[in-house]
Symmetry: C2
Subunit: 158 residues, 2 copies
């Protein structure tokens, strides 16, 4: 874990919101020269603090107006079975996020679908046709109240 100073944290907070800000604009906001900002960002990328810089596409504008969250429980928690399930989730484009969790379920998955019919096909393929899936529970998203990957950058202990 890299040790970041207040400048780094400010820069991260800014680029997490908008990665298109120029080094000069960042410099104005954090009180540093453009080249200093640029150097810091390069280091943060190399250190793996900045994992990626990505464009966020609005799903509904590309015909994917449904978002689902699914809790999946497997038959038995064997490493081999867990790994196979992880791999299939990673390889499936409509799965946006997949988490392996403790608690009353084994996996929580967030995915997009064009419509209910295509989601039904998904459940058939990945859940009903998979004997390792003991049960699953679907939540249909009515409102994406907050969607992001942003991590808080204040140094508070929260």
């Amino acid at each position: 874990m890299a040790d970041l100073d207040a400048f780094d944290r400010k820069l991260l907070a800014l680029v997490q919101e908008n990665a298109r800000l120029t080094a000069e604009q960042l410099g104005e906001r954090v009180g540093l020269s453009a080249s200093a900002c640029h150097r810091r960002l390069r280091r943060l990328r190399e250190a793996g603090v900045i994992e990626a810089e990505i464009a966020v596409v609005a799903p509904e504008t590309v015909g994917r107006s449904l978002t689902m969250i699914v809790e999946v429980s497997l038959e038995r928690e064997h490493p081999h079975i867990i790994d196979a399930f992880k791999r299939s989730m990673r390889a499936t484009p409509e799965v946006m996020q997949c988490y392996y969790v403790t608690g009353d379920a084994d996996f929580i998955i967030i995915l997009t679908a064009r419509d209910m019919k295509s989601y039904e096909r998904f459940t058939q393929r990945f859940f009903f046709d998979n004997p390792q899936v003991r049960k699953f529970r679907t939540f249909v998203v009515m409102d994406r109240t907050k969607v992001g990957l942003g991590v808080p950058m204040d140094d508070r202990d929260d």
Copy 2:
């Protein structure tokens, strides 16, 4: 919903993975000139297909090694109460994502925390101290198998 051709979809698929690709690099990959790619990206931004371009920060590198997923059920589903809860989630930095859902819960929340103690404080503040929260269920994330906001860009009917 904008109608996108195969070039647009290819461009979106690429910039969803890496928003730092130059117009020239994009041009090579999709078979268009750099200026054509640039024009298309500008339109996709203006049309709202590209909502944002953001840096993804690895939570564990900034001291947030815990990710939690929480199902929250409210006492009663009154619009006023729902809205108040949404606002508080949007205003809280440690909440990365919040979805209002149908099914056995009202909200599903994804958040990061420094440690269990700080998560306990979070639950106290937002769940126990909130009389509108009837119950909540926490899943501790053991593995972030797949994390992203990427939307599939193939034109298949899935």
